[in-house]
């Protein structure tokens, strides 16, 4: 892919070439075209287009303030985009709000951890399971059979989900009292509990030491393999990004300046200039 083309993203949809080969025969999970938003005249994200395959692990990198988290907020409709279209699993998401987006299949974590910190680990996961439990407020208050059934189901699923990170023993701990790394992992578990098709991770390795990060990398791949979902992540830790992301997009000043595989990105002059600052070995 020539760098000239990347600089002027005239094509609404980027080449499908960055989708992993195994996903090529299936419709992509996410197609974003020419997404944009401005805050008070300042274009925070502009002309953002991307395609993510069914089981792809994709990365979004770029300097601070480049608009990476804003992209997540647009995808999850925390902000309503001022232009562009987002197709999730082939369905148009315009007019949806955050809640509907989640029900439609996108779950996310947050850069600054947002757990329900006064509640237990179990409750956090169970809240994630909310829309997959068959109970309602009358069952709940009057403790009808529906309540007991859904609680049992919730407990079972919670244990299963927590086992991904081996956190079952923490089930009764308060989420706010967990160590930093465990909080990040719990946030991922909670997001997975909503049974997403696409998982957005905002700096999942922040605050982790290298060995923890390495474990996280393995976990992310395991999750993808076990659940067959796509993952889009924002990360500053290049080792993680380059290590597991099959497709990477680089954002600068709200625009995509490069897209491609890890090797392509690492050798892209513009990326190096804007972001890496110096040439780095993988």
């Amino acid at each position: 892919m020539s760098s000239r083309l990347l600089k002027t993203p005239m094509v609404p949809f980027p080449s499908r070439a960055i989708i992993p080969a195994r996903d090529l025969d299936k419709p992509p999970i996410l197609e974003v075209s020419r997404l944009g938003i401005d805050f008070g005249g300042l274009a925070a994200v502009d002309d953002f287009s991307i395609i993510i395959g069914r089981t792809e692990i994709a990365g979004l990198i770029g300097p601070n303030g480049a608009g990476k988290t804003t992209v997540f907020n647009l995808l999850t409709k925390v902000y309503q985009p001022s232009s562009g279209a987002i197709l999730l699993d082939g369905k148009d998401t315009s007019g949806m709000n955050t809640v509907q987006i989640n029900k439609a299949g996108i779950a996310r974590t947050f850069q600054n951890i947002r757990l329900f910190s006064s509640l237990t680990v179990e409750d956090n996961v169970r809240i994630g399971l909310h829309n997959h439990l068959n109970s309602n407020v009358f069952f709940d208050i009057f403790r009808l059979p529906g309540y007991w059934k859904s609680e049992r189901q919730a407990h079972q699923m919670t244990l299963e989900l927590l086992s991904i990170f081996g956190m079952e023993h923490m089930i009764h701990y308060k989420a706010g009292s967990l160590p930093y790394g465990a909080q990040r992992r719990l946030e991922i578990v909670r997001a997975l509990a909503t049974k997403p098709k696409l998982l957005l991770l905002d700096e999942p390795a922040a605050g982790m030491n290298p060995s923890e990060t390495e474990e996280l990398m393995r976990n992310i791949i395991e999750i993808r393999d076990a659940l067959g979902i796509a993952i889009l992540l924002i990360e500053h830790d290049m080792k993680l990004v380059m290590g597991i992301c099959e497709g990477i997009a680089v954002l600068n000043y709200g625009r995509i300046i490069a897209k491609g595989t890890a090797e392509e990105i690492q050798t892209n002059d513009e990326v190096i200039e804007a972001y890496l600052g110096e040439k780095k070995e993988a």
Binding site: N64, G65, Y180, G277, E278
Partner: protein
Amino acid sequence: MLKVDDINVYYGSIHAIKGVSFEVEQGEIVTLIGANGAGKSTILKTVSGLLHPQTGSIHFAGQNIVNVPPHKIVSQGLAQCPEGRRIFLQMTVEENLEMGAYIRLRHEIRGAIADVYERFPRLKERRRQQAGTLSGGEQQMLAMGRALMSKPTLLMLDEPSMGLAPILVTQIFEIIKELNQAGTTILLVEQNAQMALSVAHRGYVLETGRIILTAPAADLLNNDKVRKAYLGG
């Protein structure tokens, strides 16, 4: 210059800092490195008086500063550039700098501001702008500039590279070196251990509230244990 002796700090019932001692000599750059939650920021907050140690003593320029309120510690020449920059987003760039020199006299402020502008020309361009509109790198410069306004003899920097793109990180560390060469003693807390150790003279390694290792920075860079745990090597 700064001598921290066997301090213990608690957050409620959590024993955050366990008997930590270290020293910073005049003219040095000393760095504290460690994973998130190791207690690095807690130590800085304790030194600058925002937190109080249960036991132990902290001497700055020969004086015990335990239980001295933070605003008085500043006037003794100890400034801290806090984690996350913490600039006053709704004030202008120049007002932010003025706040940095809150303890100085009016006539001293003008000169100090000129010095900061000289070091950070970008800030001069944006002097009338609201600090909230600055980019991340500019905000970090402003935070450092603001800390310098009190003309500190010891400057404590808490995670100056946090959230910055690699290219800016390099710039920031250049500035740190320059400041040190201009005579300011620096106590640096960093997660980016590689960078921190490359500019520092000496380093302390923290793990869960304890200092587990101390050595000249170059030695730490080559220490296997450190490399494995913090440098990803």
